[in-house]
């Protein structure tokens, strides 16, 4: 558990960080909370020659409103999401789900941007971003660009974030009225990744579902948005039959890995259980 030698850089601005990335190339890694990268370095699975620490860049922290959109600095830590009044009022799913991530100590260090940009299907924010219709603000040598969460996750540890880009902020539209939300995460213990997880945001119009997003955690090489499952309920009444169709559609797109949490059969079944529970909770809250 001793990493090999590396050089440490602590830029004070995003521009400085981007310049370092350009200069150091693929031998550099960005350090956010460090709870994925540092263990990998200690195990010598990752051996970057340069670490660029983003922790001393004030502009990357904090939560504010831009009109109806909540803007979360990429280096905002999980416990700040939990404590945020703005999020509780505007995007209550996020703080609630953050409580299910890791443990209090890790949540003091782990950041939303690191969780997303790492591209690990076991991380929770990718699926949460998908159901919240989040957008990511990325800054590179050519300036800033904004990309949708949907389509951002390309494969395990692979995202649309370019090698010379830094994730700056996460933009999430405020939930509309009559929204319901839930994050169901089956895990073995505090600090574990999900055996299977499901995030849901929906809106109720009378007896029908008028908007719905379903996201899945850790049951495929990337976080998944279960679009066919969404279609099973969109514009439909929230009946047992439609729920079952949504669950079946969600299960159909899973491709979980076999590990000590369970075999693919179990994880697939658990994805279904999580989807069903998340849908029920979200619907009950949307009243």
């Amino acid at each position: 558990m001793i990493p090999p030698k590396f050089d440490y850089h602590a830029p004070k601005s995003v521009a400085e960080a981007v310049a370092l990335l350009e200069q150091l190339g693929s031998e550099a890694k960005l350090l956010a909370g460090g709870h994925s990268l540092l263990p990998m370095m200690k195990l010598r699975f990752a051996q970057p020659e340069h670490l660029i620490d983003l922790n001393r860049i004030p502009e990357l922290r904090g939560i504010c409103l831009d009109g109806d959109t909540v803007v979360i600095g990429a280096m905002t830590v999980e416990n700040e999401l939990i404590a945020s009044e703005v999020l509780r009022e505007r995007v209550p799913l996020l703080g609630e789900a953050a409580r299910l991530i890791a443990d209090p100590q890790v949540r003091n260090r782990g950041t939303i941007g690191g969780d997303i940009a790492h591209g690990d299907p076991g991380n929770d924010h990718p699926a949460l971003s998908l159901v919240c219709d989040a957008q990511f603000v990325l800054q590179g040598p050519n300036g800033r660009r904004t990309v949708d969460a949907h389509g951002f996750f390309l494969g395990t540890y692979m995202t649309q974030l370019e090698e010379s880009e830094v994730m700056v902020a996460i933009r999430i539209p405020s939930f509309a009225t009559h929204s319901g939300w839930a994050y169901e995460k089956l895990k073995r213990k505090t600090g574990d990744w999900a055996t299977a997880g499901c995030a849901v945001v929906l809106r109720r119009s009378g007896d029908v579902v008028s908007h719905i997003r379903i996201g899945l955690t850790n049951v495929a090489p990337t976080a998944l948005r279960a679009e066919a499952a969404e279609q099973a309920l969109l514009g439909q009444p929230f009946t047992d039959e439609n729920i079952a169709r949504a669950v079946a559609a969600a299960i159909a797109i899973t491709d979980p890995a076999d590990d000590l949490r369970g075999d693919p059969e179990y994880k697939t079944a658990m994805a279904g259980v999580m989807v069903k529970r998340a849908l029920n909770t979200a619907w009950a809250r949307s009243a």
Binding site: M1, I2, P4, R188, T190
Partner: protein, 803 residues
Amino acid sequence: MSAVIQPADEREASLAGIGVSRLRKEDARFIQGKGNYVDDIKLPGMLHMDIVRSPIAHGRIKRINKEAALAIPGVHAVLTADDLKPLKLHWMPTLAGDVAAVLADEKVHFQMQEVAIVIADDRYIAADAAEAVEVEYEELPVVIDPYDALLPDAPVLREDLAGKTSGAHGPREHHNHIFTWDAGDLAAADAAFAAAPIKVEQHMHYPRVHPCPLETCGCVASFDPIRGELTTYITSQAPHVVRTVVSMLSGVPESKVRIVSPDIGGGFGNKVGIYPGYVCAIVASIVLGRPVKWIEDRIENISSTAFARDYHMDGQLAATEDGKILGLKVNVVADHGAFDACADPTKFPAGLFHICSGSYDIAAAHCSVKGVYTNKAPGGVAYRCSFRVTEAVYLIERMVDVLAQRLNIDKAEIRRRNFIRKEQFPYTSAFGFEYDSGDYHPALEKVLDAVDYPALRAEQAARRADPNSPTLMGIGLVSFTEIVGAGPSKMCDILGVGMFDSCEIRIHPTGSAIARMGTITQGQGHQTTYAQIIATELGIPSEVIQVEEGDTSTAPYGLGTYGSRSTPVAGAAIAMAARKIHAKARKIAAHMLEVSESDLDWEVDRFKVRGDDSKFKTMADVAWQAYHQPPAGLEPGLEAVHYYDPPNFTFPFGIYLCVVDIDRATGETKIRRFYALDDCGTRINPMIIEGQIHGGLTEGFAVAMGQQMPFDAQGNLLGNTLMDYFLPTAVETPKWETDYTVTPSPHHPIGAKGVAESPHVGSIPTFNAAVVDAFAHVGVTHLDMPHTAFRVWQALKAHNLAI
């Protein structure tokens, strides 16, 4: 006017002696981060060691190339088995009569086995150098399953034992066989089975688990070449035994070896043995003449240091139709890994497994344990239990439940019918143990009343009748008897040294005291509780009694702390040493009061002249006199040493009950209720007892519900980090309800029996029984642990109970 004499009860309260929930003396330093652990020790000129380990489970070492590692600036040495050979230290004896490789000699036998060491200026250089050592292996077929290991054409694991047809424990019948050990009377058991109308049998695997103390193992070895003295700070539960072994291995006279166990962050049996890392650090320090530190990381600790359990057990019970047990037979295949490194008393290769007749009056019993080599790390230690008692209790409690289900007798009732009755104590079991005392029936009824057992069973019946119930409900009930306090030297020794323990007490002139012990606390609170025993025995406030342990240059020789032996053995030594002081103090007091000894009465903290409360001398008065002007003919000073060789083990017991609700959709098991009644005899510090029980229950919960060491077919350990190896946090840990009865040990000076391991031994079968009970209505008699959500869900699916 005579002085007002403080009432005896007030004086007694001010002593904070036996029975008082005195706050732990240790906590002030621990909660402020002021503990002093091995890794806190930094000596001038200290070097750092890292270990090159095998990536494969079985293979021949073709070549080791040290050049690249030695070329790294700051690297002082790279040592392999070839370098240790001239010192005859490439192999070392184990406590179980086998030998274990210190560094792999021509072959590796398990993944993560120690192959080479590197010594460097700092920990970082050492790690880089370890990575730079090139080792070339020729892979050999791997044996993971102990039954496969015994097949005629199984690969030969221990080529070093070629031609050895007998080992430390009798004949070897196969190249991967270590021993077969029997206890009880097979003919009598066979006769009981032949005559019995009812017979049940059950196969079960008690999985391999790891004690996983919070602090991993390590040492700082410091050899002074000028004085010829070796000091080693080490994470050891048995520093005196370590000193003896180090002296034997190194040739340094025992008087020049000093072993210090400073603060120890939990042991649970993991820190009893001698590990290759210790030996290598000591050798390196002797060779280089500089202090060498070695601290293993978590993966190394879980992968290579002593595991526990891994017993494949077949139990059989013979009984009457109304459930009276007539006979017990047990056959065990014990997976010992690559070397037999169990830490058991020498004569008992399966520890005290033959306590497996449990709390029951069983006339005929026999057990046979077959030890087997596999390509896994060595170990087989007592993980928070007395030697193999956890396996024994698990076996008998499972078997009694199986019998109850077969006969459709309630699981409480079948225990009532078979318990050893109070009037049968002292009771000699079919395996020959003499149970010192017990009173099981009232303890059982107390628990059943406390939880309203009939109401729980009624609720369970209703739940089972509802096919749409989202949960299954299970009730686990266990009645366990422990055997601790190893042990009488006529039965128990380690490397020939009897398993006594010791205490040295010195009363200072001003009436405060110091006690030094042969044991070593790892969280048990010895500094608190030992002082309480002295306080009550000698009338000195526990607050002014210092307790020291762990430094072989100051403490008397003792066998250490494991197997719940501290209170039964060392606690007795304290009382006996105190009584020697007490006897001398009485002589001094008689002299001071100018009466004969027989005219004195002892009351709390003083000797008083019978019939005159105003004429007395306190222990503090006596202490001053002992140094100031002792009576003619009496040695000055006030101190005593006692080496206590217990006449028998002690037999704590308990009744545990657990209620679980199993989520039929996910397989998750919620512990709704856990009620633990313990009887550990005399209770020294009830608060510490409760803490011990909470800790033991939590570890038991971890074992039953999540801990596992799964290996793939190539011998790779699949879960060797705390992400996969289950250590529960406060979030997962259930709420515990504790209760007690008191049945003192008749042979222990203060009647105490030991408690720290009871909750581990007792709770594991209770959790297991509760989960199995949830499936009992569909005919399930047994499910192997751990009851992870995944595994329970598989059982739900298999029995069409999943939703």
